[in-house]
């Protein structure tokens, strides 16, 4: 089956059996309702047991799940209208960061997010969701407009990280991310960021300087990938599972550290198991936060964002 990951296998196996039995009951006209009922109950229990106790590494896999709703899936479902705008006006259009004007229940917002691909073709086009400098420059160009026209900004974060390549360096990956951080910190309009999948290091925070930072339950946000961390610590990327435990990259960890404001719960089985439900949960949370922020003046928004990040960090005694 497409995109099935290890944790999902026992559940899918059981569900396969149920489907088989149902099929048998129908075609052979025998009553198997008791057996089916039993199995369904077992499947439900199994699901709850598995998905309530995901390890950080399993959550990382869920966050990277190829069937998980991506930024443009949200764009299509969240908004009454969405018009995508392209290019940084300097070099080109980065397809790993998308953005445009949108209407959220009639209210105009600027929407920006990382876009991954679901298959090889799409991933080549989207560069696996790893942006070049022009992606961040496009984001800044659009955010400047949102600020000028007093529209709130909604960013969706879902990237392994900013791209590590020759051209990215030649065009100033560091400068682009640094400028985006500085620029976002000064925006005189409400900014809400949602981590919908992978929050990978500098590439993620490049769109993440927000007044409110929300995180889907099974998304992750980290300074380095578990594989990268394992490669540095033990010279063995294969020990990513252990590294994931160490890095404290889950939504629960980040809430504890005061980095994020809210965890948006996912349906049992993860966001991709019920995209509609996930998207409407995201919508409710985003609308609530935008509503609260709309009461603030532009000066309050800027100082609120500054103070929020100013507090982050833990110092020794």
């Amino acid at each position: 089956m497409v995109g099935l990951i290890e944790i999902e296998k026992p559940v899918k196996e059981l569900e396969g059996k149920i489907a088989e039995l149902k099929n048998l009951a129908e075609t052979q006209n025998i009553d198997l309702s008791e057996q089916i009922g039993n199995l369904e109950e077992r499947a439900e229990k199994l699901k709850r047991r598995i998905y309530r106790n995901l390890t950080p590494w399993q959550k990382t896999q869920m966050a990277r799940h190829p069937l998980r709703p991506y930024t443009l899936d949200y764009a299509n479902a969240l908004f009454d209208e969405y018009i995508e705008l392209h290019g940084d006006r300097h070099y080109g259009d980065d397809k790993s960061i998308v953005g445009g004007f949108a209407k959220l229940d009639g209210k105009p917002v600027l929407f920006i997010g990382h876009q991954k691909g679901r298959n090889t073709m799409e991933n080549i086009e989207r560069n696996f969701g790893c942006a070049h400098p022009e992606g961040y420059r496009k984001a800044m160009r659009l955010m400047e407009q949102a600020e000028r026209f007093k529209r709130p900004i909604l960013t969706f974060i879902d990237t392994q990280g900013a791209f590590c390549g020759i051209e990215a360096e030649e065009r100033g990956q560091s400068e682009a991310i640094a400028s985006s951080l500085r620029f976002m910190s000064q925006l005189k309009t409400p900014v809400v960021a949602v981590i919908i999948g992978e929050g990978g290091s500098g590439g993620a925070i490049g769109l993440g300087v927000a007044n409110r930072i929300l995180m889907l339950e099974n998304s992750v946000y980290s300074v380095i990938s578990p594989e990268g961390c394992a490669a540095i610590l033990w010279k063995d990327a294969g020990r990513a599972q252990e590294a994931a435990d160490i890095l404290r990259l889950t939504a629960v960890d980040l809430k504890k550290f005061g980095i994020i404001d809210e965890i948006i719960p996912e349906p049992v089985g993860g966001a991709h198991n019920d995209c509609e439900k996930t998207i409407s949960a995201v919508k409710r949370a985003v609308k609530r936060h935008l509503g609260e922020l709309s009461a603030m003046t532009s000066e309050e928004l800027v100082s609120d964002r500054y103070d929020k990040f100013r507090r982050m960090g833990v110092l020794g005694e």
């Binding site: 900013a162 791209f163 590590c164 390549g165 020759i166 990215a168 360096e169 030649e170 065009r171 100033g172 990956q173 560091s174 400068e175 991310i177 640094a178 400028s179 951080l181 500085r182 620029f183 976002m184 910190s185 000064q186 290091s201 500098g202 993620a204 925070i205 490049g206 993440g208 300087v209 946000y221 980290s222 300074v223 380095i224 961390c229 540095i232 610590l233 160490i246 890095l247 404290r248 990259l249 960890d253 980040l254 550290f257 980095i259 964002r305 500054y306 990040f309 100013r310 982050m312 960090g313 833990v314 110092l315 020794g316 005694e317």
Partner: protein
Amino acid sequence: MTLKDWFIKRPKYSSTGLESSHLRVPDGLMTKCPGCEDVIYNKELEKNHKVCPKCSHHFRLSARERLDITIDAGSFEEYDSDMSSANPLDFPEYESKLAKSMSKTGQTDAVITGQATVAGYKTVIAVTDFAFMGGSMGSVVGEKIVTAMERAIELRLPVLVISASGGGARMQEGILSLMQMAKTSAAAARLREAGLPYIVVLTDPTMGGVAASFASLGDVIMAEPGALIGFAGPRVIEQTIRQKLPEGFQRAEFQLEHGFVDIIVMRKDIVATISTLYSFYLD
């Protein structure tokens, strides 16, 4: 030993290795320059601010050494000198790494901040130290940089940052390190808004989360010749694209050519250049 072994070509002098000689000039009498492979008397090297007199290879300096050659003698007033790191993630071996760096450098973390006069100009100054966990930025470095910038705003002083932060955002503090990028960039934004000059000197090496935050936001960005400056480390890039990188990639000269550095300045000329810039901004 076989007869053949007698004829194996051996280096004339034992090399200290590229890495270690980059980090610190050993206490011995002489040092081999990784630039021209010539051997230099340490005394001569010290006198020349650790720049090779023959090929101008710039050796790395500790933050203290850097301060000493930059500020006017006796003018330094240090900020937050006792601020030290915690281990909020319970990251394995972080404490021992910190302890090792502390004893090696005599610093509590990877940055020294304070105020001083440079060529007679009163300024806030921050210097990062590669010898302390690669000059990487965790909560302490972020907090000290932000505090220094906020004091500069309060006191209406310019800010000078000299970076030797090859380590980027410090892995051992996880997401908290990542957030320091936003925190320091936000402070740099306030500095800019306050109309105060911000000068950055990039020295070997400045990479990752430090390059992608406050170190790239100077009004003027200087670099020492040959300094490695970039976002991703060369090894990471080689692994990603599966090809060898061209000669000189991510060096100061490459950054100048691509428009990300204003000016490359020899170590001996840095103070004079800062003075020229400050006179433009402040006099």
